[in-house]
Subunit: 343 residues, 2 copies
Amino acid sequence: MSSSYVTLEQVAQHAGVSLATASRVINGSTRQVSERLREKVNASAEELGYLANASAQTLARNSSSLVGLLVHDIADPYFSSIARGVTRHTEEQGLVTVLGTTHRSTQKESTLLATLRAHRAKAIVLVGSRSTDEESNTRLIREIEAFQQQGGRVACVSQPGLPADTVNPDNHTGAAELARHLIALGHRRFAILAGPTNLSTARERLDGFHSALSAAGIELEHHNIVHGDFTRDGGFESTRRLMRLGTDATCLFAVNDVMATGAMAALRDSGIRVPQELSVAGFDDIPTLRDLTPALTTVRLPLEQMGERAAQMALETDHEGQDRTVNVQGEVLMRESTQRPAL
Amino acid sequence: MSSSYVTLEQVAQHAGVSLATASRVINGSTRQVSERLREKVNASAEELGYLANASAQTLARNSSSLVGLLVHDIADPYFSSIARGVTRHTEEQGLVTVLGTTHRSTQKESTLLATLRAHRAKAIVLVGSRSTDEESNTRLIREIEAFQQQGGRVACVSQPGLPADTVNPDNHTGAAELARHLIALGHRRFAILAGPTNLSTARERLDGFHSALSAAGIELEHHNIVHGDFTRDGGFESTRRLMRLGTDATCLFAVNDVMATGAMAALRDSGIRVPQELSVAGFDDIPTLRDLTPALTTVRLPLEQMGERAAQMALETDHEGQDRTVNVQGEVLMRESTQRPAL
DNA sequence: CTAACCTGGGAAAGAGTTTTCCCACAAGTC
DNA sequence: GACTTGTGGGAAAACTCTTTCCCAGGTTAG
């Protein structure tokens, strides 16, 4: 009663073969087993409702069917889109996805990485901006290497520079191209709703935008840059601050769509019409946010595919060479939230 | 080299004690261990970087630290909000969340449930509408019971009638109250963008709305009901269909926010102004969709807390009695997408 | 002073797989 | 007919941990 499990040994007995033979049938080993016995074992397994004990398998094989997925916040549509791509691939492969949310805490990240290591996870997909903090970065690298030592594989999304396969959106180019489109529209004075300075994604987008402005001979004034924390409310607050201080910009670039959403809300609250009085652009093309009014000009990233590709790279068994990097280009989508500036 | 792991035995040797003693120290058993040895063992574990092998523990204890979370689609903000609540609780408890996405396939649901069983998951949180299909329902119940037989615990969100603890939003009352508000605004002719008929959530919301209309002596005409599939695009298409066929309704109720979003997009495409020509209301108050224009009238559900509560119930060890049900009331939020009908 | 009782610690038996090693037997070779 | 070769099957070790059982030594009570 206490143990309502069917073990492989029971299956073997029921089929009248040895434990080893049963195992060989169940997970198709290299060794041949006669068709007769094979059928007998399969029939017994079916009849008894055999379900292999995953922890015993993991222990014996020293590798589990778990794939870790670490994101900052699963409720953030940026991450949930990527997560969907990851789960699509892992589930297709019959693997199990372990979801860990770090909420930008390197502490939690470490804990989760250790847990995944303890579970002998087969692979880990790391999503989200890498911090520029030296210390936590080297620690992260050490942990990744420890995991790889154990035979685990790692792939990252948006975290260039780690010793692992990487899916890397070209934030710099995307932002620069967006800037050029906006300049072409006639804008000359820009405000930027930047992200946390220590996150590479935020910095790359800022840099890319900035460099395109410079190339066009446009100055970006210091007081026209405010920082948000990549959340909707952060974007809202930072935009209010910008408005309170006053700005002569004709176009506001928020480095991600989620903050752009907050910005548009703040502008509406302040009675500023978008795009008539101020153009607004974002980055990511978050699917859930495509129905905002006015429709947001942005740079589309194929988030779901990025997650899928990362999972795929992390699980490719044949590849054993150098770490690979897949660069992903964004596509500028000019929509309703931007127009040529009023004279 | 092959095995770069530190085992408990190595820790024990390093500390000069037996394996059993080391284990007693590490996971604070009932048996006492002298302070001296205790410190020695802990120091050794620290020094060697001991990390317990989770699968060995699972095998020995016949219970893992895994908590399953089954949703239809992690990119759907309804589910990702709930998922956030679930992970908050599980991670707080030092447990590991396993994410499975079923995409409304009972086949995948079964597979995932079996996998979780094979891993000796400690608990499972099941999220999403229960199907009304008799056959898949009884199978689901059998699988849940099999899991419980093994000592696993189950909690559901929005799936009343299963042999498990349940967090149950009062869809009927919420929809009815919303209907009363809309009637009070002056609406008499309604169109409904209903959900898949076989999902309880969709049905309850439809029923609740309908019963409030009946109570007010308002007929709901058959041609004013269309069905979507709970997705944005489904809402879009169904609304187009509704418009093509023509409707005399002054208010459109979509049974969830995601479909309401698609409906608003379709109406805009058709040049129909919301709310001036047609009022629109949704259900859920999805956080990511709060910035739509016009702001959507809806029924707020505390999605994140619902997930958290479900996880909490699933993990409460002391509770061993009857299955509990927590009812959650929605709150009607009248916003910009509804107004009194034009005369 | 001895009997009963604690208490800390160690040996060993599982938990359910995988996998290696070896044996038995049949078939083919000279 | 003995010897090799090949093939299917079984015994047992290994994976790492938990936990029970038991023993030795010290403490207390009578």
